[in-house]
Amino acid sequence: MTCCGPGNMVAVESDASAIENDDAALNALSRKLGDGTAQLEFAVPDAHCAACIRTIETALGSMDGVRSARVNLTRRRVRVNYDLAGRPSELAAAIRASGYHTYVLDPTQDGDGDPVFGEMVRALGVAGFAAGNIMLFSVSVWSGADAATRDLFHWISAIIALPAIVYSGRIFFRSAWRALRVGKTNMDVPISIGVILVTALSLLETLNSGKHAYFDGATMLLFFLLIGRTLDHVMRERARNAISGLARLQPRGGTIVRPDGSRDYVKLDEIQPGMELEIKAGERVPVDSRLISTGSSFDYSIISGESLPHHVESGETVIAGAACLSGPVQVVAERAAPDSYLSRMASMMDAAETAKTKPRRIADRASSVYAPIVHTIAITTFLAWGIFGGDWHAALMNAVAVLIITCPCALALAVPIVHVVAAGRLFERGILMKDGAALERIAEIDSVAFDKTGTLTRGNPRLVAASLPDDAATEMAAALASASTHPLSKAIAHSLGRSPAALAAVAEFPGKGVEARAEGVVWRLGSPLWCGVPAVDGREPSGVWLSRDAVAIGNFVFEDEVRPDARQSVNALKTLGLPVRLLSGDARLAVTLAAEATGIAEARAGLAPEEKLVDVARGRTLMVGDGINDAPALRAAYASMAPSSAADIGRNAADFVFTGEDLGAVPFVIRTARGAARIVVQNLAIAIGYNAIAVPLAISGQVTPLIAAVAMSASSLIVVANALRLRLGSGRKPLQNHKISLQERTA
């Protein structure tokens, strides 16, 4: 067992996140258990081993007021029961103190357990029980039980099969009915018709002491199909869980300041335009608002992907979702939540979704051809045997044999099983897939579009050059930088290290910089104009400057760092025959630089979200982006990917989410998807080939329940085995690479 401890996750800690530190807000979020205790769930995305479970549970369990704490390692979360009188704000702090990133989860968003999964597994259990026990009697019948014994066995089989088919078949019947009601067909329609007809006929046979009953076939069919269905569901749930596990809690409310000065935490939908709100440092602005206190810096990274703080003057508008960097500040709500920026993006995404002509899933296309053919063959068999043979009973038996032999067991497994295997392979590489349809689409793309900030680049500034006259200036710059929480200051402090210089009267001016006195000299670290650098051609020079008594003496140059393997990944995409382009909302110069650094020839700068949307909507584009401004484009594109560091809304819009730093995930997904598409086609060919052999047998009346059972299992097994090839071949290598890259990151 290995334990690499926390710290290998890429999640960026924003320690000032307000909601975890606010008792009132946490109590409002918690689930009340009635006996004076409440329950909260925290995500612990880094927990991954027994030691992690123990550390977290011990840290929480030893706190006053905590009744119990239990880590769920599958869902990467910890559930805490605590006394309502206690201080829930200490819970997150305790988890952090034990070395794990954490944030609180909203119980209303994501309920307890997974009802669909429970239903499926129960149905699977019942179908498995019925299939197994009926097979016991069927084997006896096949080995020669006859007369009264055979009738008895058929009757017992019927008693077991009927309730099991009703119970386990519901899932298929319901889905088939939903499709039929709106005049469509899906794979569940032929399944339901087949199962119902086979059961009805077997019952009839049993009543008439007939020779053949297909109860075993009907239940086994449901059992096999449910296995495929459940695996498919588990895969999707796992991706959904992992994605929601990454999700930080968006502002669910805010602190309003009443006219009498009292403060109150209210929920998001209770905030009305005109209300005065207080935003603490680190908190996100809940609705589009106007700033009324003095100018302040806001982090717009969640909105535009832009990492540098955005300065907002008093009286200007702050967009919902922006995080306050220096606080607390007072704002007046301008719009209610449904009209705010986030919601407008969401409605743009919905519009993109409806406008998009979604390609039909390959399984649905196959079944729309398949069902009419199968039903025609069955009816023809029935009529032909009846008219030419004269024996309507035999005709019915043969028609039902056709139905059961063609019941799309292999066909229904052919596609989902490949997707499950592919998803498992992607998961090992740290890539989460939303559903199988996405895998089909990404295999068909004809170009790739990247967003710049946060996708091609890391999204955080790095100091690339510093010019400082002497050691004293360096010392002062380091001291000033460490006195500020501005990302650029942090980058400077990080590269210059700690400074022993003593500062007096340190003051931070939002949007300008930091000022301090030392030995009678005024030092400033901040924007060029503020530090006395003259404007060039009416425009402010770039970078951060250092001034001594209003004379600029040094400067720092920053660059948004391109992800380490961006160039390599772009090349890999070109080798796959996909043209790559860059779409950014950023300025022309920065975009050109990033395009050159990564070897992308086509780059468009200064795009609004709407323009990105239009650009990716043509052709079959794979959009890779992360910001809220990318979300509509992610939704409109033929297929989409987002890094796990993306904004929640972007992550939810994307088909694939990749954790980790490397963009190599993009070509990897495309290669895997193409491999999966090949195997899907093979599987469909196998399923059709099986039918081509078995159907003539069934038509000619050669198929007994024994042959049907063997043929059905054999074809399903072949299809599953073929899907597993996706794992065997080149499946090992990327896994090792992933481990290596994990270790590198830890180191």
């Binding site: 081993c49 479970i53 769920n72 599958t74 597994v121 259990g125 029980f129 026990n133 014994t149």
Partner: protein
């Protein structure tokens, strides 16, 4: 035939027993955290 009258109910009851056990385990939340369950055996429980 008399043998069957005894053996068949036994077989079916055993099957039902297994099904009931599975349903109970499902309901009791034993399938909620498969990863955690496999890790927790490494944990030494000092508590009484």
């Amino acid at each position: 035939m008399s043998g069957l009258a005894l053996l068949i109910p036994i077989a079916i009851l055993m099957g039902l027993g297994a099904l009931a056990a599975f349903m109970w385990a499902l309901r009791a939340g034993q399938y909620d955290d498969m990863d955690g369950a496999s890790q927790r055996i490494f944990e030494e429980d000092d508590r009484p």
